[in-house]
Every structure is written in structure tokens, then in C-alpha cells.
């Protein structure tokens, strides 16, 4: 087991290196550079060549790519991911400040959205093709097909502009937390509920469920202990990346609600050609996604004893 985990971690390190090279090459091949335009006016102005050269030299961007890469990785391995071109803040400090906000938001949304989604899915699966199922389905499909930014803007218009119950955005006060969390959570419900319902419907028809019922177990025990446990396996596959997504934040939620988190930053960093920021955030993403898959794989074994990881099967 430990050997398996170590092997996987070594693999993740390898992936990180490969990704770092790819991203490094990509950000330097896409047209445009970090010092091309003036964000305030969004106006493009030509920078005299001698100033551009000095600026590039100031940030070491005049060096050959491999030199830049080696320098970057050398520093990064010592924990120095550079300074954001856009914000002038050290990347590590920036990530520390913004990521905890995103995680706070993601965890709150998960605390609401995951139980709600799974719950609705289970409820729908227990009474398939009844009005309850259809009603759940209607809700699920509506929220599933409505893009987050639409729900976000709609809720701002209803709760902030019209009713004036909540502020339109921002972060820090408890009342600023409510809207983004719920909008975010609603976005989770659809996918989870549909997935749960279909796995549950399959599981409920399985023979061991019939056996469990035949043993005279109470309905709740049959559903939760037997059917849901089996049904949660495919759910895990969905949840792993979902958790990562939540912890790394949503561009739409964070820009529309003006949340100073990390979720909007990858897109903005590319937009601004903020090279150190792009590198750091994509590496962070890669790391998080790889770890999520590792943890998911390990959890498979916990949830379903038939799966044995890294060792020999019984």
C-alpha cells in the first residue's frame, strides 16, 4: 500500500515537471506579452522598443527560454514562485491570501450542495417515475442547464437590486457570504442528483438489495447501508474532481460576486499575461487534481472492499 502511494506520488512529481515545461513553453508562445497594454484604459499603446527591452531585462524575460525555465524552477524548488507582474505581490503570499477565501467558499458550498444533491438523487431513485421523481428532475435539470453566471446575476438582481436583502457582492461580512455560497451550491446539485439517482436505481435492483430486504432489514438500512454504499462508488469518481474544482474556485462566481479568491485568477492571469501567476496557478491545479485522483483511488478501496489497491487481492 505505502509502496503504491509512494509510486503514485513520484508520478505526480513527474507530471508536475512535464506540465511546468509545457506551460512555460505555451505562455511564451501565445501572442502578446505582459507589458503590452494599460489595464485601466484597456487601451493599447505602443511601448518604445528601448523601454520594452529594459522592462524585459528587469524581469529576466530577455534570457533564452531554457535559462528562464531553469531560473524559475530553481527558485520554485526553494519555495519562491516569483512576484506577480500584475499585482506586485509575491505569488506565495498571494496564493495564501486568496486560496483560503476560495476554500472557505468551496467548502461551504459543498456542505450545502453535496448533501442536497445526493439527497435529491436518493429520493428520486426511491420513487422512480412518480411526481416526486419528476419534480426533482425538473429542479435538477433546470439548475443543471442554467449556467452559473446566469443564476448569479439573477440572484443579484432579485436579492440585491430588487429586495435589497443582501449586498451585490464583496467578501468579509457574513451577509456577503450567503449569495455566492448558495449559487455555488445550486450548481452542484444538478449533476450530483442525476448521478446519484441513476446509480441508485441500478443498485436498488441488485440482488444483494433484494437479499437485504428478504432478510427483513428496515428500508432505511437497505437504502443507506447497502444500496447507497454500492451506488457511491461511481459517485466518488465524480466527487474527486468536483472537490478539486470547488477548492480551486469558480471564475464566474468570484468575478460576479467580487470575491478576492483564487478561482478567477487563472483566467485573469492569462488575460494579463502574468507569467509567474500562470505558472504557479496551473502547477497548483495540476497538483490538486493529481492528489484528488490519488485520494479517490484510495477511497475506492475503503468504500468497496472488492477493490484492493497496490496489494494482492484476497
Amino acid at each position: 500500500m505505502a509502496r503504491y502511494v509512494l509510486g503514485r506520488i513520484a508520478g505526480i512529481v513527474g507530471v508536475l515537471f512535464a506540465v511546468s515545461i509545457m506551460i512555460f513553453l505555451m505562455i511564451h508562445t501565445i501572442p502578446g506579452g505582459p507589458f503590452d497594454a494599460m489595464p485601466t484604459t484597456a487601451e493599447y499603446r505602443d511601448i518604445p522598443e528601448h523601454i520594452r527591452q529594459r522592462l524585459l531585462a528587469k524581469y529576466g524575460l530577455d534570457q533564452p527560454l531554457y535559462v528562464q525555465y531553469i531560473r524559475y524552477m530553481g527558485a520554485a524548488l526553494q519555495g519562491d514562485f516569483g512576484i506577480s507582474f500584475r499585482y506586485g505581490e509575491p505569488i506565495t503570499q498571494f496564493v495564501g491570501r486568496t486560496w483560503q477565501i476560495t476554500m472557505q467558499l468551496g467548502l461551504s458550498a459543498m456542505a450545502i450542495g453535496v448533501p442536497l444533491g445526493i439527497g435529491l438523487g436518493i429520493v428520486a431513485s426511491l420513487r422512480p417515475n412518480t411526481w416526486l421523481d419528476y419534480l426533482t428532475n425538473l429542479f435538477v435539470i433546470t439548475t443543471f442547464v442554467t449556467p452559473t453566471f446566469v443564476i448569479a446575476v439573477m440572484s443579484i438582481i432579485i436579492f440585491a437590486v430588487k429586495l435589497r436583502w443582501l449586498p451585490s457582492g464583496g467578501w468579509g461580512e457574513p451577509n456577503q457570504w450567503i449569495m455566492p455560497t448558495f449559487v455555488y451550491a445550486i450548481g452542484l446539485v444538478g449533476g450530483l442528483a442525476r448521478y446519484t439517482r441513476s446509480s441508485m436505481v441500478d443498485a436498488l435492483q441488485a440482488e444483494y438489495v433484494r437479499t437485504a430486504r428478504a432478510k427483513g432489514l428496515r428500508d432505511r438500512v437497505v437504502v443507506l447501508r447497502h444500496a447507497f454504499r454500492a451506488a457511491s462508488l461511481p459517485l466518488l469518481t465524480l466527487l474527486g474532481p468536483l472537490v478539486v474544482n470547488l477548492l480551486l474556485g469558480s471564475f464566474f462566481i468570484e468575478t460576479i460576486f467580487r470575491i478576492p479568491g483564487i478561482g478567477s485568477q487563472t483566467t485573469l492571469a492569462v488575460y494579463n499575461r502574468d507569467y509567474p501567476m500562470i505558472m504557479a496557478l496551473i502547477l497548483l491545479w495540476t497538483f490538486a487534481v493529481s492528489m484528488a485522483y490519488l485520494v479517490t483511488d484510495l477511497l475506492y478501496g475503503v468504500v468497496d472492499p472488492r477493490i484492493r489497491i497496490g496489494g494482492t487481492a484476497n
Binding site: 501565445i30 501572442p31 502578446g32 506579452g33 507589458f35 503590452d36 497594454a37 494599460m38 489595464p39 485601466t40 484604459t41 487601451e43 493599447y44 499603446r45 505602443d46 511601448i47 518604445p48 522598443e49 528601448h50 523601454i51 520594452r52 529594459r54 522592462l55 531585462a57 507582474f85 500584475r86 499585482y87 506586485g88 505581490e89 491570501r97 477565501i101 453566471f149 446566469v150 446575476v153 439573477m154 443579484i156 438582481i157 432579485i158 440585491a160 437590486v161 430588487k162 435589497r164 449586498p167 451585490s168 457582492g169 464583496g170 467578501w171 468579509g172 471564475f251 464566474f252 468570484e254 468575478t255 460576479i256 467580487r258 478576492p260 478567477s264 485573469l268 488575460y271 494579463n272 499575461r273
Partner: protein, 565 residues
């Protein structure tokens, strides 16, 4: 994100309709206060506010802007914070375009028009109590152009004698045309007389606190504690990602003392923040610029239309055509395009009055703007028959044989306009152009390498002078260069540039613009209109006589206060 604009606007529209009956009323703050309690409101720096002012704790003005990189307005890579609140410039342009003394008590221009001498206000202090002297100012100019700073805006002051030479490292700093005369006097000398130079100086020259820069290096501007202000407000707090709070500067002794107790810059992301909804929700009080679809909504809304100040933006929108290669190296093709665009239909029908049709390049009411000149209009007026004729003469009767092209827009701007133009070109000329929106960086890069042939482009004024709109068309170093040059054109603008502001100078610029229109170097389409929203309770705005904001009004909020409602 802007590509969601129309959809967002649609979403705004529905609830606005719902709202139409129960219109949003502002909660009247402290409305129950009795007459006796309504005493004079005096703010923390001793300014007595007008009789209808709200209580002192409500004297807070909130506006939205993106996060700056630092507070150093004389060092630009990415922008610093908006500095009107904390930086007092030499002079300020009022609503009617007139100059008022600010950091400078007085100034004079030399006989030859090249040297401007400024006499500073002698009691001026930084918000930490240190005097502001000519030494700070001269230091700031030198630093702005210092090659080591690699300031991307340095070119803005290249007109200063030896400005560009110093910035290139070719001459010593002593050669720079900025000289300290005594403790409170300094002068700026330009290479040639530049009539509008006051604008450049007041818009782009700010003093930095020399004592802080020397002590903390460039980091001085990253922390409010080491970034004192010479203006009416100082920076009290910078909460990254959230807001910047400005409070009255207790050491300010100038002509524009703070009236508000707090100005709060609410930080918004570069893209995606629903500004109009933030404003409607009461999370910001003003300074919201609204264009396009949102503007249509604003004008139709009974409440918002009352709070809107309409003005034509200092922007010219035109069709960029790369003339280095076919098909736009052919003047007939360009002229055919110019006559195929129905600008009135575009602005009045498609854009529902959110732009002003233009046949010239200078925005309406800009100095030297003569867009009503029939001769100018005739060069690019909407004339489908003439357009067809010209196109046939160019070898493309009914569009046959003309390549399919993409018309680019950037950042989601002018997408609808581009679609309308696509339709007009198809109807009139039988050509197929497909609009495509791309992001800023790749737009400019592909324009520079000549890959991009056709775009709906815009130019926004950097300063109030027609030279800004004509200087770069024939400059091969400019990104918006189309490959076209013309000695006659160059001569006109070279002659006009050093002249003093006069109708004769305008004549020359107008002639130059007529060349651009005649040879269809660009197809001039329109000037966008903007509304700036300010809540009714934001009172004391310094407006023009006809109640508009003015073209570059630097004094707008100088007397602003929150009115009791």
C-alpha cells in the same frame, strides 16, 4: 466575460420591468431627525458642508475600480491606483476646459512657448507633514524618465527637452528640460512649443514623496503607511482584493479641501463584475460608466435615467484595413467599404442611440472637430450605388472574386456593431465578412504581424489635442499602422503640431483628417456615447453650465458631499 454582456442585459431587463411598478426607493437615512437636530455638518478637516448635507458619518462616497499594482503614479508597468483623490496635480482642468491652480499657485509660459514655469503653493505638505517642494517635483519628473525605471508610459513626456534621449540613456539627467529654480519654483522645457502641454503635465505628472522613495525604494508605494499624499485625501487602508479607503488629509492646505469623510474604492475584477447591478443595489454611489445595451436600459429606466450624465466618449471607432496586401491595398476597395456602411442605421436602429454616427475621426466636441463639413461627409457617406460602382471598378462586381474575410473585434467590444457592418457589407457589396471577437493581446499581436486584415478598431484620446488622433496613422512603429504613408499628410501634421491653438491649426488637422477619409485609410464609423451614473444623494458635483460632466473634468468631485434624503 464581456461576451455575456447582451445576455446579462437581457437578464437585467426582465426584473427592471418587474420593478417598474415598485420602483427602488432609497431608504431615507435618518429621515425622522427633527429640525432642531439638523445642525451644521462640519467634517474632520473643518470644512462646513452645505445645509442639506447628511450627518457626518454618512459622508462616505463609494466607487468601483480595478485593483492597482501600487500607489506610485510615476512608475507604470501595470497601472497604479486612480490618483485623483490622493495626488494633487500642478493644475486642474475644470468642467469647461479651463485651468485652475492646484499644486501650482501660478504658472507662466515663455515667449517662445517652450518653457513652462510653475510656482508651487508654499504651504503644501505631504500627509505625513513633510513639506512638498520643487525638489520633489523635479525628482519625480526625473524618476519618471529614468531609464532604470523602465516606465512604460515614459514616452508620454518625451516632448520634454532631452526627455527621450535621457530615457534612452544617451544624456545625463542634468540635460533634461526640467529645472529647479528655487525651493518652490521649477520649469519644464519642451523641444518644440506644444500648446496643449498643460494637459499632459497635469494629467501625467504627479509628485512622489522623495523622502519616502529614498528611504524605502520603489516599495514605498506598496503600503499606505509609506505612501503619503499631497492631495485632499490620504490613503488610510488598502485591503487587497476588497477596497482602498481614503480619508481627509489633515495636512492639506490647498484650494480643494476634502468634503467627504471617506472615499472608498471598491475593488472589482478586471472583467465580469456587474457594475450596474452593484450600483442599483446601492453598493456604490457613483462613477459608473455605462455603454451599449446597458445604456439603453438606463435610458429607459425612470430612476436610472434621472441619475445619468450623458456624454460622447473621446473615442473614435473605425474599420481598420491592412493596406500592405490585397484586397485593401486597392483604394477603390476601401472607398467602396466606406460608402457601404450606413452609420445612421447603425447608431439609431441597431445601437438604439448609444453612438453618434461619424464620417470623421475626431469625437464630437473634441477640439478642432468639424465632422459636419459636407466635404468630409462626402468622402465616406452612405451611398450603396457608389459603393457598388467602386467595387465593380476594383474588379469585384457584386462581390464576385472577393475573398472571405474576418472582421475582428477585441474584448467583446463592438460585437453588435461588427455584426451590423457584416450585414451591410453583404447587402451592398455582396462580400462575406465574419465577425470574430478575440482577446486584447492576440488582437494587437496579429495586427502587428500583418495577419489581421480587417477589424473594427477604436482609438481613445490620451490627451485633449487633435494630434493624438492623427499622429500615428502613418507611423510604421505604431501597432495600428496600416502600411499607408503620405508625405502631404505628414507635412500637414508636422506643420500643425507646434502651432499655438488656433483655427489655423485646426485647419491643418482637418485637412489631414480629410486625407484619411478621402483615401479611406480608415472607414470612420461612430463615436460611442456613455452615461455616467451618480446617485441623487451625491451632491455638489462641479458640472458644465449645461449640466454635463465636461470632457476632462478633474474637479468633478471636489465639492461633492452626501445630501440628506
Amino acid at each position: 466575460m464581456y461576451r455575456f454582456g447582451p445576455l446579462t442585459a437581457l437578464l437585467v431587463a426582465v426584473p427592471i420591468m418587474i420593478l417598474a411598478v415598485g420602483c427602488v426607493a432609497l431608504a431615507p437615512p435618518a429621515a425622522e431627525m427633527s429640525e432642531a437636530e439638523m445642525t451644521e455638518v462640519v467634517n474632520s478637516v473643518g470644512v462646513t458642508l452645505p445645509a442639506d448635507a447628511a450627518p457626518i458619518e454618512q459622508q462616505v462616497y463609494r466607487f468601483a475600480a480595478i485593483e492597482g499594482k501600487h500607489f506610485d503614479t510615476m512608475r507604470n508597468e501595470y497601472e497604479g491606483f486612480a490618483y485623483e483623490s490622493t495626488i494633487e496635480s500642478l493644475t486642474k482642468m475644470g468642467p469647461e476646459g479651463e485651468w485652475h491652480p492646484a499644486a501650482a499657485d501660478s504658472w507662466e509660459q515663455s515667449e517662445d512657448g517652450r518653457t513652462w514655469t510653475f510656482h508651487l503653493r508654499q504651504d503644501a505638505k505631504w500627509s505625513d507633514g513633510t513639506p512638498v517642494t520643487a525638489d520633489d517635483w523635479v525628482y519625480s519628473f526625473r524618476r519618471y524618465l529614468d531609464p532604470e525605471m523602465a516606465n512604460v508610459y515614459a514616452w508620454f513626456l518625451f516632448d520634454i527637452e532631452n526627455g527621450s534621449e535621457y530615457n534612452k540613456g544617451e544624456v545625463d539627467v542634468e540635460e533634461l528640460g526640467v529645472k529647479q529654480i528655487d525651493e518652490y519654483t521649477f520649469s519644464v522645457t519642451t523641444t518644440v512649443p506644444i500648446p496643449y502641454y498643460m494637459f499632459k503635465l497635469s494629467w501625467h505628472a504627479a509628485p512622489v514623496p522623495k523622502h519616502m522613495v529614498e528611504e524605502h525604494g520603489d516599495d514605498w508605494a506598496n503600503d499606505p503607511a509609506t505612501a503619503p499624499s499631497n492631495g485632499p485625501y490620504r490613503i488610510a487602508e488598502w485591503n487587497r482584493g476588497k477596497n482602498v479607503i481614503f480619508t481627509p488629509n489633515p495636512h492639506y492646505t490647498g484650494r480643494y479641501p476634502a468634503t467627504l469623510e471617506q472615499k472608498v474604492q471598491v475593488i472589482i475584477p478586471e472583467v465580469g463584475a456587474p457594475l450596474l447591478q452593484m450600483y442599483q443595489a446601492g453598493d456604490i454611489d457613483g462613477g459608473v460608466g455605462v455603454t451599449g445595451d446597458n445604456l439603453v436600459q438606463v435610458l429607459e429606466d425612470p430612476q436610472l435615467s434621472q441619475e445619468a450624465y450623458i456624454n460622447v466618449q473621446n473615442r473614435g471607432v473605425y474599420i481598420y484595413m491592412n493596406q500592405r496586401t490585397p484586397p485593401f491595398d486597392n483604394i477603390l476597395v476601401r472607398q467602396a467599404f466606406a460608402h457601404a456602411v450606413d452609420r445612421d442605421a447603425l447608431c439609431n436602429n441597431v445601437m438604439r442611440g448609444t453612438c453618434i454616427p461619424a464620417h470623421g475621426f475626431l469625437p464630437k466636441d473634441f477640439p478642432c472637430e468639424r465632422n459636419d463639413d459636407p466635404e468630409l461627409i462626402a468622402f465616406q457617406n452612405y451611398d450603396p450605388d457608389m459603393a457598388k460602382d467602386l467595387f465593380a471598378q476594383a474588379g469585384y462586381p457584386n462581390g464576385e472574386g472577393f475573398p472571405e474575410l474576418t472582421i475582428y473585434t477585441k474584448e467583446g467590444e463592438f460585437i453588435r456593431e461588427a455584426e451590423a457592418i457584416q450585414r451591410m457589407l453583404a447587402d451592398v457589396l455582396g462580400v462575406q465578412v465574419t465577425p470574430q471577437n478575440v482577446e486584447r493581446a492576440s488582437y494587437v499581436a496579429s495586427m502587428a504581424d500583418g495577419e489581421l486584415k480587417l477589424a473594427l478598431n477604436r482609438w481613445g484620446a490620451d490627451f485633449i489635442d487633435p494630434s493624438n488622433f492623427v499622429d500615428w496613422w502613418d507611423d510604421p512603429a505604431a501597432s495600428y499602422f496600416t502600411g499607408w504613408t503620405d508625405p502631404e499628410y505628414r507635412q500637414l501634421i508636422d506643420d500643425a503640431r507646434p502651432m499655438s491653438t488656433s483655427p489655423e491649426r485646426c485647419d491643418l488637422y482637418h485637412e489631414a483628417i480629410k486625407i484619411l477619409a478621402r483615401d479611406a485609410i480608415g472607414v470612420f464609423v461612430m463615436n460611442p456615447v456613455q452615461a455616467a451614473l451618480y446617485k441623487g444623494y451625491v451632491a455638489g458635483l462641479r458640472l458644465t453650465e449645461d449640466g454635463t460632466l465636461g470632457v476632462y473634468n478633474m474637479t468633478l468631485l471636489d465639492d461633492a458631499y452626501i445630501r440628506q434624503e
